[in-house]
Symmetry: C2
């Protein structure tokens, strides 16, 4: 098998941790697999370098930020290759450039254009483990670029896709994807498998294991992703396409998103273009509007409700105050969003009604509802968030 | 003018120091000069990275060491370019690769093959200050390489030579080159100018300002070197070709080399090839033999004396014990070497005799003598080292 393994910042946070990673990689190689490793900077390094840059400038030059920030991953890749070679596991460290990761010219948040795999294939053929500095690439014009937050995951998925690897293992400090946050519901279970689509929903709902960009790319490139812990030997969670999951559970997980606030516009003039104006304004402020609900109005006006991330409420408020799109505007940050996610609900009826019934049984008022093919999201008062999660987790039998 | 400025590890050792360097560079630019800056890693960084590597391996892979060690200079160059741009002094950070510094394939001690100045010239023309990560280059086959200790000085001199810069300023934490070590003789004076040849002699005699590799390259490329302090505005010392120095002093400086030990072989068979055998053996052990004196012998044997660095005496001893080239071998580490250096002595007689007379006046026994066109070196007992330096400094009028 050709296995791509990606180790995040905490997994390579100390020299002892890097040594442990080297042992794991050498073991995988000794089992007969070809291995490409993608590493992050040692935890804390990237933030340290950002602080350094901010000492000199509130708005540092992005081209130079990329040269600065890309150094952390280079250090880790060199150290891991040295550690591996010492274990008689021949290894070479590659910068993003040497790994052939070519990006567009957008410094600090570049997108991967393509990967030139020639050199990696040569080194794999020669029996070397390849240790790629994650998070970075080289632009078409030859400059160092970085891929933004979560960029090392993205490097790993892209490399796995380009090399048609059998699996891309993402190592972090958690065991995998859970049916819900174990800090809320101790009976939460680790999932063996989950589809890309479900993972995308869960990730956007606050499951911190993987960023959506990486899952989307894995889906696009058809890469089998495994998220697992570098601190133990548990098998982790496979994220793959729906067809690869034989027995689809009705519901895979329950998520709680606390970073939510609701804005309600009352008495919005009910004419074409008004909603577009509001949401274009918010988009221009880089605010991610989430749930949007418009009720049928009367007297030529309508009511419009939507949620935004709570930490963006201040900016949103300012933008709306300037626009004055409605008679009255209400802001409510005392809400959370509870979601039930499952590919199985596509082919089953009654999944949504069970959620609503569960809320009713617990005496929880549902303030907003939004559904997709594989997700039911409900806005409830902040104080009911954890209770709602536990009740839904039980109602869908996730603890079994 | 086109000015190359190189800042060493202590000059960029903290963020505050980098800010001070940015001010100096911006000032130079504001005076209308074109500026290329070459930077070292922040002091301590390179040693930290070496320690990291040694945690994993006593003999780490050299290709990976180069990727590891080159990261420190990249960080400094990015930070300085950010600091400069913030001061409305447009600047770009270049890795060794981007600066066009092409080396041979010898990792960790590469030699510069040539410099492709195209990109630097373009950026200078565009009005940018160029901040080059020192100490590093790219091999002809595209790998990251480093130039070994003192490599950043070498980068600066090579860049200055390739761009035909008017001057190459090497900033450290000392004011320049002194007539002797001010810790030994407080009356030591900073030299305004000194020839390459004198600097080479002084450097090899323990003056730590510059490494010989850099001075040799400056001489070869005819680069005007200035060594000065980044902690004040003193003008420093110009190191240039002899013809540029109008008034040649008889003697430019007095140096003391404490890292010396003497080996005396008595009763060496006086036949062709015996000296070659001895010194080839020592060379194979990487021992730098310095002064060599062979006396006329009798009875078909001769006496051979030479000095080696004191810290290499153990290895030398082992090699000679195996070779058994003489009847008796004496080892003496209780010696030092005192040297008088001056281009002026080429055209003046009596310079050497004044040195010997000075030693005699102080009651110091000279144990070995070696002279070159511009240098007189004397081996004396360790206890007389500082006294000899002060007496010679006075005898040649260096304190005036």
């Amino acid at each position: 098998m050709l296995i791509v393994q990606k180790y995040g910042g905490t997994s390579v946070g100390t020299l002892e941790r890097i040594e442990a990673v080297a042992q794991r990689v050498a073991k995988t190689r000794a089992e007969g697999h070809d291995v490409v490793v993608v590493v992050s900077a040692m935890s804390g390094e990237t933030n340290k370098l950002i602080e350094y840059a901010e000492y000199f400038s509130k708005n540092p030059k992005q081209r130079e930020m990329d040269m600065l920030l890309s150094s952390g991953e280079r250090v880790t890749s060199a150290l891991l290759a040295i550690a591996l070679t010492e274990k008689n596991c021949p290894a070479v460290a590659f910068s993003g450039r040497q790994a052939g990761i070519v990006t567009d010219e957008v410094h600090t948040k570049a997108r991967i254009d393509h990967i030139d795999t020639k050199r990696m294939k040569e080194d794999l053929k020669a029996g070397n483990v390849i240790v790629v500095a994650g998070f970075q690439g080289v632009t078409l014009s030859g400059e160092v670029s970085t891929l933004g937050r979560g960029g090392s995951d993205l490097s790993a998925v892209a490399v796995a896709g380009a090399l048609e690897a059998d699996v891309c293992e993402i190592y972090t400090d958690v065991d995998g994807v859970y049916t819900t946050d174990p800090r809320i519901e101790p009976k939460a279970k680790k999932l063996d498998k989950i589809s890309y689509e479900e993972m995308l929903e869960l990730a956007s709902l606050g499951a911190k294991v993987l960023q959506n960009r990486s899952v989307e790319l894995a889906k696009k490139l058809n890469v089998n992703l495994v998220t697992r812990s570098s601190f133990n030997d548990n098998p982790g969670t496979l994220i793959t396409k729906e067809e690869n999951i034989m027995e689809q559970p009705l519901v895979s997980g329950v998520a709680l998103d606390r970073n939510q606030a609701r804005i309600t516009l009352r008495g919005v003039t009910d004419k074409p273009g008004i909603a577009a104006e509001i949401f274009t304004t918010l988009a221009n402020c880089n605010i991610n509007v989430d749930m949007i609900i418009q009720n049928v109005g009367h007297d030529g006006t309508t009511n419009l409700g939507f949620t935004v991330p709570e930490n963006e409420l201040g900016i949103a408020r300012k933008a709306i105050d300037e626009l004055q799109p409605a008679n009255t505007v209400e802001y409510d940050s005392e809400i959370v969003k509870v979601s039930v996610v499952g590919v199985g609900m596509k082919s089953h009826s009654g999944v949504a009604s069970r959620a609503f019934q569960t809320m009713a049984d617990e005496g929880i008022n549902i303030e907003m509802i939004s559904t997709s093919e594989i997700k039911i999201s409900m806005v409830v008062h902040r104080k009911y968030g954890e209770l709602a999660v536990r009740a839904l987790h039980k109602a869908y039998g996730l603890e079994e």
